[in-house]
Structure formats: C-alpha cells, structure tokens
Symmetry: D2
Subunit: 374 residues, 4 copies
Amino acid sequence: MKIIRDAVHGDILINEIEKKVLDSAPMQRLRYISQLPGISSVYPSATHTRFEHSLGVLHFTDIFTKNLKLSEEDREALKIAALLHDVGHSAFSHVGEEILKNFSHEKNSLKIFKEKIAPLVESRLNAKKIEKYLKGKGYGIIISGDLGTDRLDYLLRDSYFTGGVYGKIDAQRLLDSMEIYKNKLVVPEKSISTAESLLLARYFMFSAVYLHPTARIAKEMISKGLRIAMKNGWISRDEIINGRDFELLFYLKELGSSIIGSYLERGLFKKALVITPSPAFKSFLHSSNARGKIEEFLKQYFEENDFVVCIPDYPSQNFEVNIKQKKKVVQLKEISPLVKTLQALPLQNTFILATKPKIRLEASARMKKFISNF
Amino acid sequence: MKIIRDAVHGDILINEIEKKVLDSAPMQRLRYISQLPGISSVYPSATHTRFEHSLGVLHFTDIFTKNLKLSEEDREALKIAALLHDVGHSAFSHVGEEILKNFSHEKNSLKIFKEKIAPLVESRLNAKKIEKYLKGKGYGIIISGDLGTDRLDYLLRDSYFTGGVYGKIDAQRLLDSMEIYKNKLVVPEKSISTAESLLLARYFMFSAVYLHPTARIAKEMISKGLRIAMKNGWISRDEIINGRDFELLFYLKELGSSIIGSYLERGLFKKALVITPSPAFKSFLHSSNARGKIEEFLKQYFEENDFVVCIPDYPSQNFEVNIKQKKKVVQLKEISPLVKTLQALPLQNTFILATKPKIRLEASARMKKFISNF
Amino acid sequence: MKIIRDAVHGDILINEIEKKVLDSAPMQRLRYISQLPGISSVYPSATHTRFEHSLGVLHFTDIFTKNLKLSEEDREALKIAALLHDVGHSAFSHVGEEILKNFSHEKNSLKIFKEKIAPLVESRLNAKKIEKYLKGKGYGIIISGDLGTDRLDYLLRDSYFTGGVYGKIDAQRLLDSMEIYKNKLVVPEKSISTAESLLLARYFMFSAVYLHPTARIAKEMISKGLRIAMKNGWISRDEIINGRDFELLFYLKELGSSIIGSYLERGLFKKALVITPSPAFKSFLHSSNARGKIEEFLKQYFEENDFVVCIPDYPSQNFEVNIKQKKKVVQLKEISPLVKTLQALPLQNTFILATKPKIRLEASARMKKFISNF
Amino acid sequence: MKIIRDAVHGDILINEIEKKVLDSAPMQRLRYISQLPGISSVYPSATHTRFEHSLGVLHFTDIFTKNLKLSEEDREALKIAALLHDVGHSAFSHVGEEILKNFSHEKNSLKIFKEKIAPLVESRLNAKKIEKYLKGKGYGIIISGDLGTDRLDYLLRDSYFTGGVYGKIDAQRLLDSMEIYKNKLVVPEKSISTAESLLLARYFMFSAVYLHPTARIAKEMISKGLRIAMKNGWISRDEIINGRDFELLFYLKELGSSIIGSYLERGLFKKALVITPSPAFKSFLHSSNARGKIEEFLKQYFEENDFVVCIPDYPSQNFEVNIKQKKKVVQLKEISPLVKTLQALPLQNTFILATKPKIRLEASARMKKFISNF
C-alpha cells in the first residue's frame, strides 16, 4: 500500500497494481493536462490537472464500492477504470477535443487501456470488466453517472482550486446513502436534498467558473491557436491527442503563433461585443459551421490572429438521477420543482467577440453589421 | 477596484495601479514558474505558482499595513514591492537559482522593477521607496522578515496545496498583533505562542515537504538536466533566468536530454544509497565543488544522465524574531526553549544517490567505496 | 481593542464601548439561550448560542460598513444595534416567542436597550440612531434585510455547528459587492449568482436542519412543557421572557413536568403519524386554535404529557432582494427563475403526531379518525 | 445503521447496539456536561459537550480498528468502550472531579457500565472485554494512549470549537500508519513528524486554551462555588457526580451562591495578583492543602465568595509514544530533541489571585504579604 497526499481528500491509498497503472507513461502525462484549461486566467489558483482528479475519482470509487459491498474482483476492476477514465484526454481536455473531428476521449481512454495498460495488469485483473466499466456499462455508471464519482470529485476539486464556495457538495452523504437497485444507481428518498443541492452546485459552478466570459475568451484563444496551427500544417492531429498543454503552447509560440503568444503573456483579448442572441441569430449560431462563416467574414477586414468569437453553447441539464421511493424508482426532475426549473435554465447565452485592443471598435461595428442580417 | 478570487485568501482586492503591474509581462511570466518545483512528484496537488503566491503576499501586506496605519504613500509602495518580490525568479525558482553563478532573484527583481515596471508606475508612485522595500530595508522587513508576509503566505499556501496540516498558522492573529517598534517588526509578549507555532510549522513543512527525499531527487534531476544542457551549450544562462519551467523542460526533452525525459514521464530515479554522513564525509560534502568531484568519479563508470547525487544542506534556523516585553525588545530564541531547540535541529542530513534502475546496485557499491575514503 | 476568538470568523475586534455592552447582564444572558433549540437532538454539535451569533453579526456589520464608508457615528451605532439585535429573545428563542401572546423579541430588544443598555453608552453614542436601526429602519436594513448581516452569520454559523455543507455561502463576496443605492441595500448584477446561491442555501438549511422532523418534535416537546407549566401556574410569562433555557428546563423537571423530563433524557417521542395534509385539513390546521382543538380531542384519551402535534407552517420565501441593473433596481425574483421557483416551494408540509411508545398505535388510530372528518 | 452528522467528522455511522448504548440515560446526560467547563468565558464558541466528543472517539476507534484488522468481537467491544470512556464524568468534568475525594471518572465509567449499560448489551457483547478496555488494558490503549483516539478527537474538536489553529493534527495519517506491535501501539519511523507535531499541538492547546489565565479563573469560580455549597450542606457529593453542569449552576444560584451568581452573569473576578512563584513559594503551593491555608488567611479579611486563588499545576508531558525503528521499539522522547524539550517545559507557572473589583487592591497587598513569608 502506498499513501498519496491529496489536497482535497487527504490520504489516498493505492495498492500495488494501481500504482503500476499510475506510474505508466499515459497516466503520468495527465500531470501536464490542465483540469480546467484557460480558467486560471480568471481564477489564478486553478492550476490543478487531470492527474490529481483521476486519483480523486479512484478514491471516491474505493469508498463508494466499499459501502456497496461489491465483489473484490468487481471493485478492483472499477477502481482501475476510475483511475483511467480521463487517460484518453487530448491536450487541453475538452478544448482540444472540440476541434478534433471524430475524436472522443472516452474512446481514446479505452484504446490506451487496451494497447498500453492492459499488458501491465492483465495477468492480475479482468481486462474485459475494466473495458466494460470504461464504456459506462454495468457498474461503470458509478463513475460516469450524473451523481457518479467523476462528478463528485470534479465539483469538489474545482471548487477547492478556484476558491469558490459553490461546488461544496455533501459527497460523503451521497457515498454513504446511494445504492445499486434494479441495476440503477439510486438515491434514497430522504437524501433528495443532497442530490438537488449537488445539481445546483454544478449549475453555479458553470455560471461562475466554467462559463465565465473571460475564461471563454481564454479557451477560445487556445482553440483558435490550435486550429490555425493545424490548418498551416504546423501541428498534426496526433500531436494534439498525445501532446501536453504547455508543450503545445510553447511549440506554437516558437513557430510564431501570435494568438498563443498573447495568451501566454495574458494579453487576453478584450470584449468588443457581448450580446444575447436574437432567436434568428441563435438559430444561425447553431447551424453548421456558423463559427467558420463569422470568421470568414471578419477575416476580410482583420488578421485572423487578432480576434476570437465565442459561440454560446447550452450544456445539457437533462439529468438522469434516480430516486428510490419505497420500491419505485422515479426521476428526480419529476418530483423536484427546483431540478425541473434547473433543467429549463439556459446556462449562459451570450455571444462574445473579443479582439486585440487596436481593432476593438471597428470589429464591434463590423460584427454588429453582420448580425443585423438576422 | 478589481476582485481576484484566490483559493487561500478568498477575495483579493487590486487597485488600478496594482492591476497594471500585475498585467505586465514579467509578472504574467510567474504563472509558469512553479512555487515548489519537483514537489508535485510527491504531493500531486502542489501545482501552484509564484503568481498566486505574489498575489497572496500583496493581500497580507495590504491587511497588515492597514492595521499598522502606515501613510498611504508608504502602503502603496510596500504593496507594489510585495507584488514584485519574486518577479526576478529564474525558471524553477531556487532550483534554477542554485546553478547560476552570481545570480540572486532579489537583485533580479530590483533590476526588472527598474527596467520594466517603474516606467509604468513612476508617475504615480515613489519608485525610490519601492526599491528600498524590495531590498528589505525600512518597512521592507514587513515582507521579508522571519514573520513577514512572504513567509506567512507561503506556509499557508504550500500547506493548502500539499494537503498538509503542518503549515496551518495563525496568520490573522500575527497580522492583528504585530507592530513596528523601534524600527523593528515586533510581536507582543502575549502572542509568543503564535510565533513559536509558526516557526515549528515551518520546520515541519521543511521535513515533510520541502526536503522530502523523493522531492530532493526530482529537484536534482531538473538541476542536473539544466547543468548538462548549459555545459553542452544547448541553453544559455539568460534562457534559465528569463524562461518558464515547462518551456525549458520541453525544449530540453526535444534536444534529447534523457534525464529530463525521465523526469517528464516520472521515471524518477530510485534511491541507490541513503546515508547519514560521517563527520569527515560531511566536511567533504561542504567543501568547494564536492558535487563535481563525486559526479566526476561516478562518470568513470556510468552515463551522467543516469544518476544524481543529493548533497544535504542545512537551512538556517537562526531566526530573527523580536518580542516586545514591556518596553524591551528581546529575541524569541532567548526566551523560548522550543525555538532554541529548533535552532539547533538539523533539518535533514542524508546524502542520497539516486539512479536508473539498471545501474542501481553497481552504483551503490561504487559510491560506498568512494565514501569509505573518508 | 479587545480580540475575541470565534470559531466561524476567527478574530473579532471589539472596541471599548462594544465591550461594555457585551459585558452587560442582558447580553451575557444570551450565553444560555440556544441558537437552535431542539436541534442538537438531531445534530449533536449544534450547541451554539445567541451570544456567539451576536458577536458574528457585529463582525460582519463592522466589515460591511467599512466597505460602505458610512460615517463613524453611523457605523458605531449600527454595530451596537448589530450586537443587540437578539438581546430581547425569550428563553428558547423562537420556540418561546411563539407561545407568548403579544411578544416580539425585536420590541423586547428595543426595550432592553432603552432601559438597561442606553444608560451605559448614551454619553458616547447616539441612542436615537441605535433605536432606529434596531427597528430595521434606515441603515438597519444592513442587519435585518434578506441579505443582511444577521442572515449571513446565522447561515454560516448554523452550517458550521451542524456539520452541514448547505449553509456555506459566499459572505465575503456579498459584503464586498453590495452597496446602498437609492436608500436600498442592493446587489450588483454580476453578483446575482451569489445572491441566488444564498437563498438556496437558506432553503436547504430549512429542509435539512431547521425543519427536520425529529427537531420539530423536540421543539414541540419544549413548547408543550412550557405551555402546560404556564397553564398550571408553575411559571410566569416573565420567567420565559427573562429566563435561560436550562434554567427553565431543570426547574420544570424538578416541578415534575414529565414531558420535559423525557426531553432532557432524550426519550424524544416517536412519530405515530406523519401525513401530508389534504387541502381541507390544511385549511383547518391554519384556522385559529387548530392545535388547541386537536389537543383537546386527544386529551380525551391520553395524558397530555404523552404526545405532541407538529402543525406544518410555511416560512415565507417572499424575498426582498434588490438587484442593481445599470441604474435600475429590480427584484431578484423577477429576473431569476430559480428564486421564482423557490418562492413557490412549500418548505415542509407534514403534520406530525408524536407520542410515548406505549400509546403510539392507539393515538395514531384516534388521530386518523379525527382527520377523516376533513 | 444510523447516520449522525458531526461538525468535526461529518457522518458518523452507528450500529444498532451502539445506538442502544447512546440512547441510555447515562450517555444522554453527557449532552449537559461541557467538554471544557469555563473555557467559553474566553472562547465563546466552546459550547461543545462530552456527548459529541464520545461520538468522535467512537468514530476514530471505528476507523482505526478497521485499519488494524481486529476481530469483529474485539472491534465491537472496543467501540463500545470508546463510546463509554467519559460516561463516568461528574458535573464539570475535571473541575468537579478535582474537588471530589476518592473519585475517578474512569472508575465511575466502569461502574456505570456494569450497573446500567451491561444489562442492555450483555446478551450480544462481551462485557468482560469492554471492562478490560475501559481500564485501558489490552487494546484499551488504542483509546487512552498518548496517541489514542480520545486525544486525537479532543485536540481536533477543541480546536474546531475554539477557532484555534493549534490543535489541527494529522489524525488521518496517524490512524493510517499506527499499528499494534509487540502489544504496543506503535508509530512507524517515517511518521515521527506527525507524532511530534501532535504533541506540540497539545502543548499549544494547553498554553492558549486549557490554561488560559481567564479560563483558570472561571474554572476556579465554579470549583469554589461547588466547594462552598458542599461545605454548607447545600449539595451532596452524589449530586456533583450525577448532576449536570447547568442544573448545578442554576440550583446554586437559586440557593444564593454569590460566586456562582457572578459566574453566570460573567462578572468574572479580575486578576488582583499574578506571579511566577519563587522556588520556596512553589514548594509551599504543592504541599498538602496549600489552597486551604491561603483561603483561610484571606478569609480573615474578605468574604470567601469574593475571591479565588489559582494554584499552578504542571500537567505531565512525560509522553509514552512508541516508535518502531525497524524491529525495535523506542521512545519518541529518546530520539526527538523537540519532544525532549517539550517534556522539560513547564506548561504554565503563574499563581493567580482574582477578586471582585472592590477588594482588588487590598487583597493584592494582603496576598503579597502572605507570600513574602516564603
């Protein structure tokens, strides 16, 4: 047994086989993949990485499965799946993933497991089970469900590292009271408040942190830097998938990417235009390649490295949270007015144009003109 | 007024001129200078940087000088000095500093202030005062003293990010009760316990975190990687002074530094030999260029990228903490048996040889032979 | 200046005149008035009293008014009003207040201030202003408003002492960002999430703590013990107003109150019947003297010390939270779907009959019969 | 399984038999026995009781014995002993115990267990084992040792409720790493810092909290009130042993104890004389009945209810902490210079005379005269 000290959970216990997985190159790479790319532009303490998060998910999965009394074989397979659930992330996590066509970090995690990790553990673990859990099947829901250990850890961790108060959830109570019932992860009726409170915490984390306007601009700058570099042939798709955040940033800066240069010295672009889209414009924004069309339009007048556009997206709040009412299982949203409201709430809905200071006024005017067509 | 949310202190208020300094390129570079290089190999959450620490020192200096009722001019100058006190750090902070001859981050902070920051603020601030405080003179002791705001912040911050309990100090009580008396920063007699407790906290942080054997190996690997690269002419002194941690790591990896390659994938070297030096060997270790001689010896048998030696050093615990007893000022160590004991305690005293697994046994034997000469 | 160490806020600074008020007998009595009577039956750590809470409200009022830059005279008067805002509480706070006809702790606070405290401070403070603020007029809203310092402190404090996570609110951010605008306490638009989050925290504290079914039974046992004792002439109205919690409990126990005897040894009554009232029964429950009628009915069959009935009440969630949108002031509930939902949410709606174990079954049957008339 | 929410540990799990013990009258009485009598005069949040502390010790014993892999029978017996370890405390815990001749709360706990608790649990538990553990024999050391679960809980809890930072110990790490070796509770060598840090935390808690001068005066007022009441025949020895704190306070106040009257309204006596005793006076102070002789002397001039004397005592710091060095067990104090120093440190050494304000000057003079004889 090895003890690793984590800022959020305190001591995390790691057995020998977990240590072997943890020490593998694909897992160690996660030390250089930011948990929240771009967010430290706004919340400077948010320097944490997918590596600690993965340890945290392992830890919560360990505690939870002890309470659930799974078999040792299932537990161990599930813990390894917990540790590996994010191993397939590209550089810049979701920011990288969004610009890669036909890429999903979940599938990549599975691939990495099969190719690089399974050979290390196969003799002692049930690789088929680990694969099943990585796909979110069977007990895999314990990790990836709407109240799963992945979300429990990231809410607490992101809150801890942003200095927020929103993400403080009662993970202990959930882990103590949830159970597997009729093949579902269920919350007993008396813990409804705890589940409601978690979904609200997630909502507030989205509005205060994940979708903070300045953070959206920072993420968009990274994203655009990568897209331009790919288009120019400076970097390949594989380099994004297998690279590390700073490795790519410094490489692009060296190659002369002026937008990444700005990012690294936090000459973040300033807001030139922030609007709540009209229904017509909104429908355009969600049509195929809206970003491309806007960028084409602006490139007629401005250097492409001098501006970014942030298209509002609307993270699903269509939660699948099962409540056990006596012997029935019902959906939380059906019995909780708060969660029902939450589900209908748009999380953020502004369109942002951000630019270098020198073109701010002109770009704002051009953009307004473009929008006036809708 | 701008509000920045910090994980340790919550809201930190920044006025317009402080924001200007904060947004300058030299300050923004600190986002990429680890507060504790190498430590995240052991404490994975310790991903924090000099940037947040600098904000924290500004914050404590703000609170403290409000209590002290300094003039507005002095306060503002001191706060700017607090923000800038670490701006001159090279890549890898102290690890980088140690391999650069004739370099001190304090002097470099002063230089950067004069050349790059003063022009931004001069019209509105007293640059002479800022320089004086950066040198630790006059009120500068408020930042750099043994109970200064620099130490108060780093103990709390390093504790927060390592998940430790040792560094939890009563900063609030110290900031509420310390005063300037006879040109000295003094602690009133009734707060002696708080001061003792802080020095003990620092001691425990050294033994549990800063000098953790594995962390020493990690730091030594970075250090040796840099030294070999300088020797080979791959990087210049200036690149270490002005570079960023990851920039250098990825650059060296690309140039083929195998030791940095190992570090990045945490093939940290394993301990081959750990000994408490005999008096004779200890005296050799502190003679000039002991490291060089040991490395020369081992290079006869092994590739230089395959091993590191960690020479014990003995951080001074000769604290200057003034206690105000009625109208007298006395030294804490004169009246506190605990602090007196602490002062005489060696903080760590092992000599470590760490190597790649394949040469571990042989290297251990060779090293023992070398040591047997003393 | 005196420093008092509080578990929630750390150091609280008290000036000389505040210390004088704090040391007065009416304030010291608050050390024996539970902040949450009955709740420690469920949350055993909730042993905190109105005394610490009063210090906390003083502390937040101090911080807030510093940010608001009130005149020193106004600040000092407001801080004294903060310290005194609960001084008029009867024994068992709200539980006692509810059984006293024509009694309000706010009016009693005013009376105690005039009669017993004003003579101590009058020469140095503006007593008229303190009275005004105690009435919630003018700046008094800073203490008693829906986002006032009273609520900020009690949510944090009750959360701290119940081990909850629900009450964790971002008081610092609110105190940093709220202002007085057009004679109203307003929250800037960008802090809407913080205000929403506070109202939700309050909601969850009600459902998890303040209205916990077992806590309702405990409170009802105290309440009934007091009512029977008053009816029997064992204690007077004045003894409840001026007494201390334990003083009354032990006095009643000695006089032979069997219900208080049970309470003290936590033979809390067990639930015999828990129902969500039908509309007709609900309307009866809110008619005048419903409790009296039910108790009369049950007394035909059972000893009055052997049962209690808990009538659901519906704490108002009709919040008055002003949001400053540019130059307009709007109500939070008008622009926040979450708060609008919250306002329409019934906080608890069960009717509970709890009894000694021996009569549980029969009492349940009788009660059902009674209810069947509606 | 029942879940109880504790402020310090979060959820505490209680099985059916533990719940039965917890619900017994002797355990419920602990809700009214202050954990730190008198301390809330100085630290107003310190309202916690022996009841929550007992739950905390149960919780830590549960965690620790899970790690130690004791048999289920031993574990359950040890957990019950943990819950009951303080059940024999008289009113005012140690303050009451000190004035009762031939009384020890440990023996009383054993007696209460045999007479009142064993009949409830005997059929399902091994009462002999519980008795053995209550005596501190065998595994009982896990509760009562110098690093036992009793101390781990009270340091954390007293720190939590006083708002201190001193008591923050790394209980998790100790519970994870201690083991039973050669029938002793041992700490592995690598956790020496954690053990040292705990002993230092205890030292600082003594100096800042337990022996705070004002707290000593408050405790002495309670003590003297009880002693006078016993002497006058107002209360019996049994009433102190079986009573509750406030029950006795209000009873004595009603009977006219002026010193208890002062205490309840916090007219705490003020320091009239504080001196560090000379060796001769010190030796007198530790002779038999020194307090009695001083009080006799002062009673010639002053009403006995108008003053108290606080005799310095010197809590043993002769710790028994076993360190496992390879296969040897050594004492921590033999290898730790800090602990050795600590052991030789007097924890407090002032003699205090405190009086009503009106006799302060005269009493101080009389007392000085008395002391001058030594």
